[in-house]
Amino acid sequence: MAAASAGRRWERLRAWASAAGSHTAVFLHTLSCFYVVSRYGVFLSKVTGPSMFPTFGGRGDFVIAEAVTPIWGQLHQGDVVICTRPVDPAESIIKRVVAMEGEEVVLYPDREHHEVRRITVPPGHVWIQGDNLTHSLDSRQYGPVPLAMVRGRVLLQVWPRLQWVDNGLDAVRQF
């Protein structure tokens, strides 16, 4: 009798281990798919901070961004992009591409610089600025950003309103 019940216990243990194994496999598969999709496909992101006002309120807006264009396609002037933050690679920033490689940017004097600066955007880089120029730390402070640090191009906003994001320069030209 002892041998039979030990056999049943062993069978239950094996069944449990097999179920646990397949659940773990499903879990790891799901995580991997999630990683690949969000890194190379589409991802959701939260916008905080005032630097893209009025395009985004910056108090909990959610946007959907795609990584296909920055990696395999071509970004254009006016695209709203999500990048790794140049001064802190652990953070992300959301800004608009204002100039592409080879274009010249004219910067007027500000707090740190006392003369007009003309900067040509080097190959492989873009010049990004927040739509809210007075409340934005961007390429005017930290210079052009390498394209490899652009993680996604923003497609649409999903919260608080569902609307396409205007990827053009009209939003900035009004000022």
Partner: protein, 138 residues
């Protein structure tokens, strides 16, 4: 990166290396002496492999301008081990953004006679001053 990698130049048996991405992508832990794979600043679809010589706030000697250079925040200074034949921070890119670093080379896995660890080697004569953290004055 000769002699650490491809010591006989680009030939029949180029080194294949194992790159771990946890240190840079998740932990954001960068160390001087790491051999790092990173995206070329001027060519966003090309990866390069060089050694990290200095991190943000360190001082290195800029041999083009003949004066010390302080590495800005969020960047690092990379150099190839084969100084004569390497395009790196000294002569091409300047300080490289830390966000471009993709992974750390840990081992050579192929060809079999090149198996081995790629050591974190720190050429101390290239740095002038190492940033020792906050609270050290200006």
């Amino acid at each position: 990166m000769a002699p650490t990698l491809n010591p006989d130049g680009d030939e029949q048996w180029p080194d294949m290396v194992l790159v771990e991405k946890v240190s840079y992508k998740w932990l954001h832990k960068y160390q001087r002496g790491d051999v790092a794979v990173f995206w070329a600043p001027d060519e966003p679809r090309q990866q390069l492999v060089k050694r990290i010589i200095a991190l943000e706030h360190d001082l290195v000697w800029d041999s083009e301008q003949h004066k010390p250079l302080k590495i800005p925040q969020g960047r690092c200074w990379v150099e190839g081990d084969n100084a004569e034949a390497s395009g790196d921070s000294r002569n091409m890119y300047g300080p490289v953004h830390l966000g471009l670093l993709e992974g750390r080379v840990t081992h050579v896995v192929w060809p079999p006679w090149r198996w081995g660890e790629v050591a974190r080697w720190y050429p101390a004569d290239k740095l002038i001053v190492e940033d020792t953290g906050p609270g050290q004055g200006k």
